[in-house]
Amino acid sequence: MVKYILKKLLYMIVTLWIIMTATFFMMNMIPGDPMQNGTKVLPEAVAKNLEKKWGLDKPITERYVRYIKNFLKGDLGESYTTPGLTANEVIASRLPASLRLGLQAVIVGLVLGLLIGILAALRRNTWVDFLAIFLAIVGVSVPSFVFAALLQKSLGGSFFPIVGWITKGMGLPEQFRVTALPTLSAAIGGMATYSRFMRSSVLDVLSNDYILTARAKGLSEGEILRRHVLRNSITPIISIVAPQVAGIVTGSFVIERIFSIPGLGRYYVDSVNGRDYPMIMATTIFFSAIFIVSIVVMDILYALVDPRVRRNLIK
């Protein structure tokens, strides 16, 4: 098992290095120039001076080697557009909002999704089931920014603010108020996915012989649901939740833009638009790391909880 974990960690490092290298070279290939980013053109001499200062006058391979060296020292660089602002500071200041939004969205999506999925399966081929299927289709096919706009339009205003985020000193009720609409907007897609999975999973479990046996033994329907159906049908959901958690924590940039949330996802997009190379690299590496770690952790957990996986590893 230790060998398995070490192997996974090695894969993780190699994957991260490949992503880092690919991003570095691709980023430098896209058109645009961090110096001439405004609408007014910098005098050539000034632009050259800045290029020299940032090391952009050096060959790309030399810059790459220097970047890797600095990275290994823990230096992810400093923003071109906001000099003095380091990548570490940006991540530290922006991650909490993204994390908060992402986690709330995953939890709300998961709870609502599982509930709808269970109800749909238990009420198969009734209006409840059809409604759940309809909601799932809508939730998957309509982009989150459309829901965001609809929620802003229908509920935004005096109670739920149209834009804004938590600030220091806010009490819990007010935190609920400002995070409710973005959380719901970000949760709807996940909710639809979870409900579809949960419905199939519950139907699958209900068709097993042990459910019949349980009924024959005289267990109440509530007990069957709690002890057999829920426990067995929820396991497959874990496999889709882990990557979704990583994705939603890092990828709510549209919601962050619409609701003016000071999150990392939006900063990433702004960095790309502004050709802020150090920040593009730092945020890409950070997002990739979260994603890779979540997948590795999921693999390890699988190995720990499932004897079949463990047996295969030992073989």
């Binding site: 053109v41 910098l42 050539e44 001499a45 000034v46 938590i166 000193g169 009720p173 609920f176």
Partner: protein, 564 residues
């Protein structure tokens, strides 16, 4: 079959979980460092304790608030509420700002400003040296200010900025704490109008020494505030809260206690916020929203204002077109005349006014408005046949229609941009029977880069005034100017504009500008004007004494504003 009561119980339980989570799972993890912003935002206009509060929107997220680096409308708006320029504009007139009086030498080359007895928000006195420091940083090649070129009229500025001269040789001096002297290369009659630029505000040298020179303005805490307001909190990506600066020299006339600058990048979001009373001003609305709000305007529930916002949009031809098509003046002019500007503004853009010249409304030549005095140059050619002109141009370059395919570069893939491009494409294809392809830049950064390197044939771009004088538009088309996207070059144009720089007789100056504009737009058709910007604004009926500036100064001047 499961009992209904189990389902009800399960549903109630899960819903309770959601509520409990939403209420309780909210630890401190998502808190930003700054405080009070959202709370005050919701307070609206007058908070319970009678404080004067105004909410306006930010349309972009400012990356840095160093006055030296202030180079767009959004950063100018914030910087000029919290920093004091030498002069301030009020109702189109120059009024004292950081300088209480000023004079110019007889030859017009030296401007002397006598400063107010002003203090920063922390109580430190504002000194002339602080203005000198900020202005020198504008030319500092390490800082890389995009506006530096605008001030090359200051002695030694260009040399220092381009690494050929020394900092000490720049003609900005402080003979004493209250006096500032600026030495110019030429006697510019419009120099005073440039003195309300954000780059000419005080920043103490001890705040920008060494490495701090490059990082000043990256956070609100390290900054000094000499203007009517000071930044109380800055939540990047969300909002900025300004508080009245009690040490400001004219603090008794500043009535607002708090200004909330709320980031809202989506137009629909801003509109809804205005309707809900979360914003007190909505600038630059389109015609459709204007119509939608007409009932409220008629009922005087909101105030509607329209003002000339001195900027113009135009079709830019690459005068150095490598395919040799737009290097021909007749073809350029044919393309310009082929555009039905009235139809474009009525059916596509749905705002602004058609332009047949370069200098927009709202720009003065001394006391008079230039555009009202000088007729749009293209109007006299309006009835010429563009097709005949196109044929003549084709003969000159030795090509036939069938050989002509041109590419229009659009700045991004946004829906509005696409609609504009398709309109131009249709107009030129129908008129000339040629193929017009549309190429799309990945984003604005790529677009600016592509255009500035001349890697395009035709595109749609524009320019906004940096100060209230025709020169802010005319100097862009001087041969070799860095902000000349058309690569236009005409010796007669250069001569006229350069003469107008220091021409003291305003009537003669206007004539020179008019002639130069005629060369650029009509004779040589370096660019094809499209529209003059007219901004439609909606304002809370209770907001009084605000100002809306188009050229220099903050777009929304809140120094004297108050809520009734």
């Amino acid at each position: 079959m499961f009992q209904r009561r189990y389902l009800k119980k399960a549903a109630a339980c899960i819903l309770s979980c959601i509520m409990a989570f939403s209420m309780a799972a909210c630890g401190g993890s998502g808190e930003s460092k700054e405080n009070g912003a959202s709370a005050s935002q919701q307070e609206g206009k007058e908070s319970g304790d009678g404080k004067q509060v105004v909410n306006i929107s930010m349309t972009t997220d400012p990356d840095i608030l160093d006055p030296t680096r202030s180079d767009d409308a959004q950063k100018n708006q914030i910087t000029l509420e919290v920093q004091e320029t030498l002069i301030r504009m009020k109702d189109g007139k120059i009024t004292p700002g950081g300088a209480k009086s000023w004079e110019t030498s007889e030859d017009g080359l030296v401007w002397t400003f006598h400063l107010q007895d002003n203090k920063y928000s922390d109580g430190t006195p504002v000194k002339a040296d602080d203005y000198v420091n900020c202005m020198l940083r504008t030319f500092d090649p390490e800082v890389g200010c995009h506006n530096a070129g605008m001030f090359y009229c200051i002695e030694g500025g260009e040399a220092y900025n381009t690494g050929k001269g020394k900092r000490e040789d720049v003609g900005i001096k402080a003979p004493d704490d209250q006096t500032l002297e600026i030495h110019l290369n030429e006697a510019l009659p419009y120099f005073l109008l440039m003195a309300n630029c954000a780059n000419l505000t005080p920043v103490p040298a001890d705040k920008t020494t060494g490495e701090d020179n490059l990082t000043y303005g990256s956070n609100a805490e390290g900054m000094m505030y000499s203007g009517p307001f000071a930044i109380e909190s800055w939540t990047r990506g969300s909002q900025i809260v300004l508080k009245k600066n009690e040490n400001y020299w004219d603090a008794e006339n500043v009535k607002l206690d708090t200004v909330n600058l709320i980031l809202a990048q989506e137009e629909n979001t801003r509109q809804q916020m205005f309707e809900e009373g979360n914003l007190d001003m909505l600038t630059g609305i389109n015609s459709e929203y204007h119509k939608k709000m007409q009932d409220k305007i008629d009922a005087k529930e909101v105030v509607f204002e329209e003002n000339a916002n001195p900027s113009s949009s135009y079709i830019c031809f690459n005068n150095n077109d490598p395919d040799g098509i737009f290097s021909n003046a007749k073809i350029r002019k044919a393309f310009s005349l082929a555009i039905d500007r009235e139809s474009f503004l009525k059916n596509v853009q749905k705002k602004n006014k058609p332009a047949y010249g370069l200098v927009p409304y709202g720009i003065n030549n001394e006391e008079s408005m230039y555009r009202e005095e000088v007729e749009d140059p293209l109007l006299k050619s309006k009835d010429e046949d563009p097709v005949a002109l196109f044929e003549e141009g084709l003969k000159e370059i030795g090509k036939t229609r069938d050989e002509i395919t041109v590419t229009f570069l659009q700045s991004n893939a946004n829906n509005d941009t696409k609609l504009n491009s398709e309109f131009f494409q249709r107009q030129w294809q129908e008129k000339f029977g040629i193929t017009v392809k549309i190429d799309t830049a990945a984003d604005n950064s790529t677009f600016n880069n592509t255009v500035s390197k001349g890697m395009y044939q035709i595109c749609n771009t524009g320019w906004g005034a940096d100060y209230n004088d025709p020169m802010t538009f005319m100097q862009c088309y001087l041969s070799g100017d860095g902000n000349n996207p058309a690569f236009f070059s005409n010796s007669e144009y250069d001569k006229l504009v350069n003469e107008a720089k220091s021409e003291q007789d305003m009537k003669t100056r206007q004539e020179k500008f008019a002639k130069a504009e005629d060369i650029l737009i009509n004779e040589d058709a370096g660019v094809a004007p499209l529209s003059y910007s007219f901004q439609k604004n909606l304002i809370n009926k209770n907001l009084k004494d605000y100002g809306i500036n188009g050229s220099g100064g903050p777009l929304i001047e809140l120094k004297n504003a108050y809520m009734e």
